[in-house]
Amino acid sequence: MGKWINRQSLVTLIGVLIIYAIVQGSIFMDVLPPFVALTLIQICIYVILASSLNLINGITGQFSIGHAGFMAIGGYVAAIVIVKFHGPLILALLFGALVSAVAGFLIGLPTLRLKGDYLAIATLGLGEIVRIIFLNTEYVGGASGFSVPKTINWTWAFWLTALSILIIRNFTNSTHGRACISIRENEIAADAMGINTTKYKIMAFTIGAFFAGLAGGIYANYMYIIQPMTFSFLKSFDILVMVVLGGLGSLTGSIVGAVVMTVASAALAGLPEWRLVITAVLLVAMMIFKPTGLLGTKEFSLSFLGKKGDKNAASKN
């Protein structure tokens, strides 16, 4: 227990509770404009997406750009459970995430043998295939979309996000997470040291897909309607930009990236073309001047609060 409750985790917990309480309080008193509420939920969704993609791209170093595909699977499965089987929300979300994880596992098994650019393009293709399958499935409305009742509120979204971050963080800091980092640093060397690289790559990919599916489920149950077009590879790029902006390999960086990009795109919502031009310029400038992203592989931490501090900076790089 002593290891669980140190000053740092206590401060983090209080911080999380305060954020939740402020937003929940303003929702309760009905002072939150709907647009802000929407943005807050979107932040939650993108934080989960970015942290889970970071697990694959940043921690394990497997360049996947088909994340929107897993989001689509989670979203559609969760929607089917709610609409067609009238299941409870928690079951829908869990089922969506699980199906997405299974898909991640099955897809990861053959494709993760590929490296670098080839893996990137294969995952891009897979994401598109998933989208085209939903586009051609009349059961879920085809191109016109699938209506889903709105069952997600701030409480659900927020605590699911907090839980996801906690799980991803603990995974990263575990033995398995370390193994994943060693694959990122040098796959051949990691292999030579006796690490089962295939196993860990697939593990990271599956967990990443699970949380992408969860985020998709939250999205589907908040937005009233889901359409295949939402899950095009532009969505994958959006998530990628967040991860890269925050720093590939930094969980807190991904969270920062997700918050910054979601707020920025909400601010530019009236000018969709400008939003993407700015995103693009930002991305190119970022890569040229600071290719490691805002935080690099470092984690923003409150370690100065604890006596010993939690050394969770992955590597120097």
């Binding site: 294969a122 293709g125 085209i132 290719p291």
Partner: protein
């Protein structure tokens, strides 16, 4: 001639026209990848720029097909070199993922910058060719089909001559084979890479103009899907191998024509990506590639 045979030959005609476009774009992809190992995601968007330049040349300047094609190729070649110098060159020696992300950024920039510049509205190409239709034993061959195939074959032959016999072509092959050794032999690597971008972008622009003329419509996002599919074609033939890109392009065009011909046209993009994944899993080096083991 039986109805089935006729259908079959008709799809071959359609597939060859479509394949010419893919092959032209794939050549640029494969050249750039062969020389700096970068998936130039912006390549499809350079094709889009080429299509727009061609559109302006034909509608505003009232030029005929050939001058419009040449202008589009030159403008896109310059654009390609600019992109390489501004966005890709500073990243040549950092991690590969950085350049891949930059390429995605450049691609988004061209797509949405293009939208701001020329508006997202779909434009119609003027009828550059006579709308003559040849009916050869029930198979319909449009004038555009012939122009498309002939233009791309002429361009491919010119490319082959340049790469095999010219000084810059030899430099390109040398840099692609071993950049550092080429540098030691006194080859100007920077200029060679720029030349590769120029030629690749020129070919993409030609594909863009052909596509605009053939399908009549152009819009700022038109480059995305053909760009991705051309990449599939390049991987299929073995990336970095020029004849592979041509074969891959035609193969993909034909496959797509047959999938559409069978009435599954909504699935044709999925089929293209499925082919890509199968090729990557079974033979990642492509049909014409050799397997090179990675060393520690």
């Amino acid at each position: 001639m039986g109805n089935v045979t006729q259908q079959f030959l008709q799809q071959i005609v359609n597939g060859l026209s479509l394949g010419s476009i893919y092959a032209l774009i794939a050549l640029g992809y494969t050249m750039v990848y062969g020389i700096i190992k970068l998936i130039n995601f912006a390549h499809g968007d350079i094709m889009m720029v080429g299509a727009y330049v061609g559109w302006y040349a034909t509608t505003v300047l009232h030029l005929s097909f050939l001058p419009a094609l040449l202008i589009a190729m030159v403008v896109s070649a310059i654009l390609g070199v600019l992109i390489e110098r501004i966005a890709y060159k500073p990243l040549r020696n950092v991690i590969r993922i950085a350049s891949l992300i930059t390429a995605i950024g450049v691609s988004l920039f061209l797509e949405y910058g293009g939208m701001l510049l020329v508006s997202p509205q779909v434009r119609t190409y003027p009828p550059v060719f006579p709308s003559t239709i040849y009916n050869v034993g029930g198979i319909i061959i449009k004038y555009g089909d012939i122009v498309m195939v002939v233009t791309s074959i002429v361009l491919m032959i010119s490319l082959h001559v340049i790469v095999q016999y010219s000084k810059i072509g030899k430099a390109m092959r040398a840099v692609s084979f071993d950049t550092e050794a080429a540098l030691l032999m006194g080859i100007n690597v920077n200029n060679t890479i720029s030349a590769t971008f120029a030629i690749g972008s020129g070919l993409a622009a030609a594909a863009g103009v052909l596509m605009g003329v053939y399908f009549n419509t152009i819009d700022p996002l038109m480059g995305i899907i053909p760009g991705l599919k051309a990449f599939v074609a390049a991987v299929l033939g073995g990336i970095g191998i020029l004849p592979g890109a041509m074969v891959g392009g035609y193969f993909l065009g034909l496959t797509e024509a047959f999938v559409s011909g069978l009435g599954w046209s909504t699935w044709r993009d999925a089929v293209a990506f499925l082919i890509l994944i199968l090729v990557l899993i079974v033979k990642p080096s492509g049909l014409f590639g050799k397997n090179i083991r990675e060393k520690v």
